[in-house]
């Protein structure tokens, strides 16, 4: 069977010079591993755990976006804000024409029926109209306030996002500093050993 036809487990682990007996070495390796497994020194769980152990790199803070408006307000750029229409919309087109016909036909009866309350109703309608006009005016004056508030909310979201981003960056920075401290600790330990070795050399020389 050629190496290509073999499964990864069956294919030879290594190649070497012709005078080296790869087969015998592989058999010896397998035997020793089996012995260790049989004696319980080496467990399959441990082998799997180490072979499958993956590196857990710290995230790159350059990959954390500072602005996340596009995620919070998707499609905002394509569809810009449109002002609210507060003017009452009347029926138009065919409906308006049909209703107009009915209204004209029924108008004499309506006038007759409403005659006793005509003045009251007229006053009421005028009053309602005035109130509506005032409300409309008030609402119109509120539109910029609402829009401004919306921008403030967005700013607030971004501020919170940026604070979270900065906190995450600080955490990553802290982890990196820990690594650097570990490296410095190792170097300090090595230098201590070096110092002892130099002192020993000096002592032996004197």
């Amino acid at each position: 069977m050629t190496d290509e036809a073999k499964t990864p487990q069956e294919a030879s682990l290594f190649t070497a010079a012709e005078d080296i007996d790869v087969r015998e070495i592989m058999a010896d390796i397998q035997r020793r591993i089996q012995e260790k497994k049989a004696s319980g020194v080496l467990r399959q769980v441990e082998i799997d755990e180490i072979e499958e152990m993956e590196l857990q790199p710290l995230p790159d803070f350059l990959e954390i976006p500072n602005v996340y408006e596009n995620h919070l307000y998707p499609g905002q750029d394509e569809k810009p804000f449109e002002p609210f229409h507060l003017e009452p919309e009347l029926e138009g087109g065919a409906a308006k024409k049909v209703l107009g016909v009915f209204r004209r036909l029924l108008m004499p009866i309506m006038r007759f029926m409403l005659r006793p309350f005509r003045t009251d109703l007229q006053n009421l309608v005028v009053e309602l109209h005035n109130t509506n006009r005032q409300d409309l005016h008030h609402l119109k004056s509120l539109v910029p306030v609402v829009q401004q508030s919306k921008e403030y909310v967005k700013l607030l979201h971004n501020t919170i996002n940026n604070m979270i981003v900065e906190a995450s960056k600080l955490k990553i920075e802290e982890e990196l500093l820990k690594t650097k401290i570990k490296v410095l600790e190792d170097k300090a330990a090595f230098l201590e050993e070096r110092q002892r070795a130099v002192e020993k050399k000096l002592h032996d020389g004197s």
């Binding site: 070497a16 591993i33 590196l55």
Partner: protein, 367 residues
């Protein structure tokens, strides 16, 4: 005629930088004017390396410019615009995916490097790879003519004595397993650590792992490795960081076995260095590693961490096997000589320039 070299980065102790320096010295020894121009360089070499932007003063159509290409950079654009005859030495570019989780800028530069490499097709007079593996990549991309210029290996530095203090600290009877190289993701240091962990826990408790190499710029990778070491609860893993050359030589001399699990290599200089120092090598067959080992040492065909640990143990315990491995390495190392690479370079340059007097004279003196 003058032969100058272009680099993106000249780092202290870096294989490409060393190669450029060796080529420059080799050419200067043979009376050919040669300078090194680089975008970045270690302050230690401030007097020896010139900023690549100053090359305009040196440029001439009859000159040859050798560009050591290994990453995307603005140097490529400058190189392409030169009127000089252009030679590229391709040292391979690490696939960018290795760096995605750890170094976005380098991932981008590696990606850009592959794009720039394609842009260089048809625009250089000669494309050389420092291994057949690299040359085959160049040919696949459409470069012509191509050739191989083996990495200049200067073993004379290993004749220096060991640093006594390092010897005192690490020559304490423990078995030293060594890895030399940058602490970067494509080198799969996590595999080296896990193999060592199996070895130390189940085959030889009296052992340590020495990871010798620069980790600056890859602190997040180092941090992840340290976390792994902490999870394994193994206190015998030592990260030395970048060390001066004499200390590096000491670590090599103290090593009982060299372990390399990298998944991408354009050449892998520590392997022939270990061969030279009679250190048995166990290395994973990735990239140009099989070609660099040329049948010497033990070449892993698949990654099985426990079996690799058992193999390391067998090599370290079995004297006759160890001797066989070392003999196979000695056979290979005879082919690596500084002069051989120099002669190949001169031959390539002669082919490129025709009958140049300076090169012919240099060729005569080196033959």
């Amino acid at each position: 005629m003058k032969v100058h070299q272009f680099l993106t980065s000249y780092s202290y102790g870096d294989a490409i930088g060393n190669e450029a320096l060796e080529i420059r010295n080799y050419l200067r020894d043979r009376g050919i004017e040669s300078e090194i121009f680089s975008l970045f360089y270690h302050p230690r070499y401030a007097g020896q390396i010139i900023n690549y932007k100053e090359y305009a003063k040196y440029s001439a159509a009859e000159n040859v410019v050798i560009f050591h290409f290994s990453i995307g950079s603005p140097v490529t654009k400058t190189f392409l615009r030169l009127p000089d005859r252009k030679v590229m030495i391709y040292h391979n570019i690490t696939p960018h995916h290795f760096f995605l989780d750890y170094h976005r800028v380098l991932a981008k530069d590696c990606f850009k490097g592959r794009v720039e490499l394609k842009n260089l097709v048809g625009k250089v007079d000669l494309a050389l790879g420092d291994s057949r593996y690299n040359e085959s990549e160049l040919r696949e991309l459409g470069f012509a003519p191509t050739g191989v210029l083996p990495l200049v290996m200067d073993f004379t530095k290993f004749s220096r004595p060991m640093v006594p203090v390092i010897k005192d600290i690490f020559a304490d009877g423990r078995t030293n397993i060594l890895y030399v190289g940058r602490i970067i993701p494509n080198k799969r240091i996590e595999d080296v650590i896990r193999v060592f962990h199996f070895y130390q826990r189940h085959f030889n408790a009296n052992s340590r792992l020495l990871l010798v190499g620069e980790y600056r710029g890859f602190e997040r990778y180092l941090s992840a490795l340290q976390k792994m070491v902490a999870r394994l609860e193994n206190p015998h893993v030592h990260f030395t960081g970048h060390v001066p050359e004499d200390e590096l030589i000491s670590y090599f001399r103290l090593a009982h076995l060299y372990l390399h699990m990298s998944e991408h290599e354009g050449f892998c200089a520590p392997v022939p260095e270990s061969f030279h120092l009679d250190i048995p090598v166990v290395a994973f067959a990735a990239g140009a590693v099989p070609e660099t080992m040329q049948g010497g040492g033990l070449l892993l065909q698949r990654k099985s961490l426990l079996e690799t640990a058992a193999l390391c143990d067998r090599v370290l315990r079995d004297k006759s096997l160890r001797e066989q491995v070392l003999e196979s390495q000695r056979r290979v190392i005879r082919g690596y000589h500084r002069d051989r690479t120099g002669r190949i370079l001169i031959r390539h340059l002669q082919d490129l320039t025709g009958n140049d007097e300076a090169l012919n004279a240099a060729g005569d003196s080196s033959s």
